[in-house]
């Protein structure tokens, strides 16, 4: 590998951007999931090699990850162009061409029914529900009860960067509890992406359908968050297994 050509991004910076891209079905980073096989930097031009667990991963999901990877890398000031090379996918030709030529999904897949935005929204909503579970768990651990939690708004939160914690004020700001920042921040990110929380006094937590939570049904709603997590991690188990089987087979072929 040649030395960095001046003007290009560092490998670490590219990796950090890619780390923000999630597998939309699993809500996990594509870097953690080991989908990124290679990063090639040539001055301000970057190429990213991606391989998914199976050749028949939904083309819509593959498309989302490829587009997100391209856009994240291109958001680095030192990058002029990012190209995506998806490998071993049944639709790699359409996806690589579409993403690198910046076509809309419908043009890359003329015979697909339904558009990719609707699929993304559906999965984002599920990811929000799953992340809500962790955020609510943190608040329960801190001693808050259902009534207090369902009333929380963004204006009740005060982040303390130094300690990576957040103070949550309840009961008309009469007192606060301190919880880890991470689950709250992760939740807020998806709650904003799905437009559920935009104003400081919006309710922070919602049912999977997006409604305010009745304290009476708090436990049930919380269970549904857990279920959304189990669904994602189960699907992750299938994907992991299929990826291992596929790698095993490729190794077997290589050794032949």
């Amino acid at each position: 590998m040649s030395a960095q050509i001046s003007g290009g991004p560092t490998r670490g910076a590219v990796r950090d951007r890619l780390d923000r891209v999630t597998d939309p079905e699993l809500d996990r980073s594509i870097v953690d999931l080991e989908y990124v096989d290679g990063i090639e930097i040539d001055g301000p031009r970057v190429a990213v090699d991606l391989t998914l667990p199976t050749a028949w991963c939904s083309p819509a999901f593959a498309w989302m990850m490829a587009v997100d990877a391209r856009d994240e890398v291109e958001s680095l000031p030192a990058v002029e162009e990012a190209r995506i090379r998806l490998h071993d996918h049944m639709h790699e030709t359409e996806i690589n061409r579409g993403v690198n030529d910046r076509l809309p999904f419908a043009e890359a897949f003329p015979d697909a029914d339904g558009d990719v935005a609707a699929v993304r929204t559906e999965l984002d909503e599920k990811a929000r529900v799953a992340r809500q579970y962790d955020a609510v768990e943190a608040l329960l651990d801190a001693g808050l009860d259902a009534e207090a939690i369902v009333d929380c708004s963004p204006c009740d939160l005060e982040m303390t960067d130094a300690t990576d914690t957040v103070d949550v004020y309840v009961d008309d700001r009469s007192f606060a509890v301190t919880v880890p920042n991470d689950p709250i921040e992760r939740y807020l990110e998806k709650a904003r992406e799905t437009d559920l929380v935009s104003e400081p006094d919006d309710l922070l937590f919602r049912t999977p359908e997006g409604d305010p939570i009745d304290p009476e049904s708090f436990d049930h709603v919380h269970r549904r968050g857990r279920l959304a997590q189990v669904n994602m991690s189960s699907q992750g188990g299938i994907c992991d297994g299929l990826r291992e089987a596929r790698e095993g087979r490729l190794e077997g072929t290589a050794n032949d």
Partner: protein, 370 residues
């Protein structure tokens, strides 16, 4: 036959898996196939992709020493199937779930007619199901009647993501499908098995969306809707629907083999299912020949819920629950009298063939039979 298989058989006999901890567990495998994916039968590249995809699922969740090679996987035949299911009494009965895929396979992949070869030879051991596809219109209704008259099918297996011409799937809650569900009701075909599961290349994921079951199940309260593969990767949608519709059941195919190499996940999925559906609406199926009951049944029976999950969900994977999930629940749906079956199996052809008579002879745990 390889030495490896013989060796495994001996181990299995020692385990006497139908007598789990000294108690009889009558196992009805709710989801089996007798398929033909030979190259001569494939007429569309989708057929080859389909069997390759099945094979990946097979290898991913099968212990390495029990994996088949691709040739035996394409066509294993009736004798092999009987041996795999019954020779060590892994299963006591099995229910055929057809998968036609006639656009991909010249004679179909796994049709009722193909399944009938075995089902009519051993009618006491097998239940034969039919199918319908609302896109077939009048002809389809006639075919359903024909299946009813010829085989008296008590259920249908539906594949909403099946390709047909330009169509890449259909929904259970549209008007045409309702016409077929009405016909099922009229004919007394009560068990509606819908494949709602992992994407199978090259079928469309969205056509396996589980949401259409909701409307169908509430519109046909007298029918039972068994969602195969518990909706994975939409377990959350499935459980939510099942929690509200008490004629919706969860078929464990695909989730079951997690017991073998993802025991923690198995524990978690099973805990969710038992919490949302209760122990009366979860049903075992191997998905044979994707997975083989001759090792899978034991893995599932031996699986345990983690202490953490038991505490969190307040559910148990205990003997009573296992009895229900492995046989009693589906026996209720199919009006199978388990005690009468036990009597009949003391000297039926299969028990004679594999020397299983003793196992059905008494309530007492039999001594190891070798």
């Amino acid at each position: 036959m390889s030495e490896k298989r013989v060796m495994w058989r001996d181990i299995d006999v020692h385990c006497a898996m139908y007598q789990h901890n000294g108690e009889d567990i009558f196992v009805i495998d709710g989801h089996v196939h007798l398929w033909d994916a030979t190259e001569e039968n494939i007429e569309h590249e989708g057929g080859e992709e389909f069997i390759q995809c099945f094979y990946d699922y097979h290898t991913t969740f099968t212990p390495e020493e029990r994996q088949w090679d691709m040739d035996e996987y394409r066509e294993y035949g009736a004798d092999r199937m009987v041996e795999d299911l019954f020779s060590n009494a892994a299963a006591d009965m099995a229910i055929f779930q057809p998968t036609y895929l006639t656009d991909f396979y010249e004679d179909g992949f796994n049709t009722t007619e193909q399944n009938a070869e075995l089902a009519t030879e051993y009618p006491e051991r097998f239940v034969l199901n039919g199918t319908f596809d609302p896109r077939d219109g009048e002809e389809g209704l006639e075919y359903l009647e024909e299946l009813h008259e010829k085989y008296d099918v008590p259920g249908v297996k539906l594949y909403t993501a099946e390709w047909r011409g330009d169509s890449k799937g259909w929904r259970l809650d549209d008007e045409d499908a309702f016409e077929f569900l009405e016909k099922c009701q009229e004919l007394g075909i009560e068990n509606i098995h819908a494949h709602k599961g992992p994407t199978i290349r090259p079928l469309n994921r969205d056509a396996f969306d589980v949401a259409d079951v909701d409307d169908a199940a509430s519109s046909f309260p007298e029918l039972n809707f068994i969602v195969e593969h518990v909706g994975l990767p939409r377990l959350d949608d499935f459980c939510w629907i099942a929690a509200q519709e008490n004629n919706v059941y969860g078929g464990l195919a695909v989730a079951a083999p997690f017991a073998q190499n993802r025991p923690g996940k198995f524990s978690e999925i099973m805990s969710e299912l038992l919490w949302w559906l209760g122990e009366d609406r979860v049903i075992f199926g191997s998905d044979y020949a994707i997975w083989n009951p001759d090792w899978l049944v034991e893995e599932v029976l031996e699986a345990e819920l983690t202490g953490e999950h038991r505490a969190e969900y307040g559910v148990e994977w205990d003997l009573e629950t296992k009895k229900k999930v492995m046989g009693e629940n589906i026996a209720d749906l199919y009006d199978i009298d388990i005690e009468a079956k036990r009597q009949a199996f003391r000297d039926d052809e299969i028990s004679q063939q594999f020397g299983l008579g003793d196992h059905y002879a008494s309530e007492e745990p039999a001594a190891a039979d070798d």
